[in-house]
Amino acid sequence: MAGGEAHAALQAVAQSLRWTYSLLWQLCPHQGSSLVWGEGHYNGAVKTRKSTVMQPPPAEEEDDADHAARHRSRQLRELYDWLQQAGENSSGGVQTSSTTASRRPGAALSPEDLTETEWFFLMSASYSFPPGIGLPGRAFARRGHVWLTGANEVDSKVFLRAILAKSAGIQTVVCIPVVDGVLEIGTTEKVEEDMGLIQYARGIFMDQHGIHMKPTLSQHSTSNPVTHCTHQHPIQVQMQLGITSQTKFDYSDELNADEENDDTEEEGMSGSDTNNTDTERNSGQLQLQMQDQLNMVSNDHQTIPNNAVSSELMQCEMSEVVRDGCSNNILEDEIQMLMDCQNSNCQLNLQGPDEPCHSWHFLCEELQNDYQPATEDQVASPENTHYPKTLMTILHYNTLRQQEMNIKNYLPVSEKSSFSRWTTPEGSDDNKTMISPGTTQRMLKSILMIVPSSHCSYRGAETPESRGGKGASGCHPR
């Protein structure tokens, strides 16, 4: 029920604001309190549905649109869950992955069915944010909103999902702390920071969701921790253990904020200087925590060498998969990128196919960078390890499909074929002679347009007979 209520709240937020998506990041208390995907509602462009042929009443139309958007959000989540499972299976071999793919429900979405914007929404589910890291983490740590305009242009160090946002055209992302997590909303429009909108969004969300739930400590979250915890990478597990003290510190902040409401308001109104100060303070604390984490990792290495070796092997394996995937699939995925273009981009892409290729190369390059960072950078962004894994699953899936299709791209032609090879005819006389305007599609037009119109007259003529002996023939049982 909590999930359903959360989705209803997110739907109300996205539709009231007419933004592209809304989602809820929730703490995952079992693994050191990182923010993970709790629920999401997608309210943006859908590739395969564009127009209404019937003219339903306005109220009915709205209900249908709402229902369709909710259904789409659920389908996106199901696709993500399937990719997760496929990723786990593929580590055990190609055969298993094929088997998994063949078991998918026929009605499920495929990656090819998504717009770039839906892609951004879906891939966000693979992220998790320790407090203070990423937009949701920062919003949670400082108990204040984070508003990012130009999300599709900033460096990925500022906004971890900048690459995806660039492809999807997401320009504005806002993270707003709420009682049990962080509310994130995003849109393809460029919107400048607006405190009124933030209060409005939070109000809608709490009206739908918060009133029915007493504030609870993160250890007693009403979401399903087991589901979310499975998103954690082993490295992240260790990371989160080290951050427990950070979480406690945040609770102290929260208590102080409750006691000093006036101070909080003043702090909010003071402007960017205060924000920068907070950022610097958090950064310092984070550095201390990271040093502790490094020490802990070192200890783990000494006490449990097998785990460390396994972790390193996994990393090497994924790195190799990424490299192979990039080199082998670039051409095929350029085609995919071209095919996946949205309506408004189709003409441009047909005229200038370099653009999607550039976008894809950019993504590949970033992936390579992600897999050759310094240890310190890697520790700073552990959530990135999950996203590439999911992407590798998708590349693998596309490779399988392409291989299957390649088998049947060849048309065998028999030596005894009735057909002959095409040769370009020369001379225009033949063209003129062969065209016979008087016989243009004669039979086809007759079948579609003339004969059907004559059914009624024949039926009229036949009616007296059909009441008598013709009935016995069985052609017109009555």
């Binding site: 139309e61 016989t439 579609l448 347009m449 036949e462």
Partner: protein, 355 residues
């Protein structure tokens, strides 16, 4: 090229020159054709602008074909009211009774005994099993003539019909009732084709291709519109092997328009080598990017689409193979059970062509 000759002489010349094409002549002009999904049998519907028409069943030997082995089975011919606009066998090969569906003033299902073709001398003619008539539901005396239909391969209890009254009707043939009826277009609907998962598309005299999803009946997508305003679209073929691709034919046009579901509105290719209007198009049953078209120029052309849509050359795509029948080809089918065989119909002849 050789100068055109009178049709009969040209046909004889073509046949004499091509020992790998097999011809069966029937008493009447032929329009509708259908291959059986499980037996080496071809159904052919006559085209007489009259109430009385006939459907013939022809047998062929797919392994060692001879002129004698491609013949009509007189015992299995049956009368049919009005010329059938489409014929199609039940898509499941394993179905015990071989059902054949036909469309004209109504949708009819026939039981065709194809199990033992050798015993045709004593077999009974196909038996009419049911008539699915819109009048029962509309309580009206006016009929709604059908221009085409398509049998859902994934859910064979579903047949979608296209009608000149602007509707598409989805029938549940096991219960003999209408599952859904949609006002699909602004004008007559000329053809319908199933895609995947309860999705179907239709073409219309209003010049559009529309895509419908049975899970969301309130919406449809206008997928393509003919470039000349109000030029009707006449036929539609959906690639069964790669559901991204569709092909459609325009009235008074020699072009075959190929569409890609991932790029709505803009054709991935327009095939322009017919020298007269195109009448029929079919996708290869076991290849993703091959299709065959036939037209008033008497030619059947096999095309291969480029792997990359952007690779279509400015001067257009040439077909890879060509067959010249010597007369206007009105119908074309590519056998799913025997992918090396194509059948065409022209005048009163049905021909079996080996790919």
């Amino acid at each position: 090229m050789e100068q055109p000759k009178p049709p009969s002489v040209a046909a004889s010349a073509a046949e004499a020159q091509n020992p790998n094409a097999f011809t069966c002549e029937l008493p009447h002009s032929i329009y509708a054709l259908a291959f059986s999904p499980s037996a080496p049998v071809l159904a052919a519907g006559s085209f007489l602008e009259d109430l009385h028409n006939r459907v013939s069943l022809l047998s062929f030997d797919p392994v060692h074909p001879t002129a004698a082995s491609f013949r009509a089975l007189p015992a299995l011919s049956f009368d049919h009211p009005y010329p059938p606009t489409k014929l199609q066998f039940h898509p499941r090969a394993a179905s015990a009774p071989h059902l054949l569906a036909s469309s004209s003033d109504a949708l009819r299902l026939w039981l065709a005994p194809l199990d033992d073709l050798a015993a045709t001398a004593t077999a009974a003619a196909p038996e009419l099993r049911s008539v699915l008539d819109n009048r029962k539901t509309s309580a009206s005396e006016f009929c709604a003539p059908l221009t085409s239909f398509d049998w859902n391969e994934a859910e064979p209890r579903r047949i979608g019909t296209a009608s000149i009254d602007t509707t598409c009707t989805i029938w549940d043939i096991e219960r003999g009732v209408v599952e859904t009826q949609l006002i699909a277009h602004d004008k007559a609907v000329h053809d319908i084709a199933w895609g995947e998962n309860g999705i179907f598309a239709s073409v219309s005299a209003d010049g559009s291709v529309r895509v419908f999803d049975l899970r969301d009946k309130e919406h449809s997508t206008i997928f393509y519109e003919s470039p000349r305003p109000d030029t009707p679209l006449l036929r539609l073929a959906w690639n069964r092997y790669d559901f991204h691709y569709m092909a459609t034919l325009l009235m008074d046009s020699s072009a075959v328009v190929v569409l890609d579901m991932r790029a709505p509105g803009v054709p991935v290719a327009e095939l322009h080598r017919h020298r007269a209007c195109a009448n029929a198009v079919a996708w290869a049953p076991q290849a993703t990017r091959h299709l065959c078209s036939a037209g008033d120029d008497g030619q059947a052309l096999i095309w291969e689409l480029p792997a990359t849509p952007g690779a279509v050359p400015a001067e257009g795509i040439d077909p890879v193979m060509v067959y010249d029948a010597g007369a206007e080809i009105n119908q074309l089918q590519w056998a799913a059970a025997y992918p090396e065989w194509i059948s065409i119909a022209f005048e009163n002849k049905v021909q079996l062509l080996r790919v």
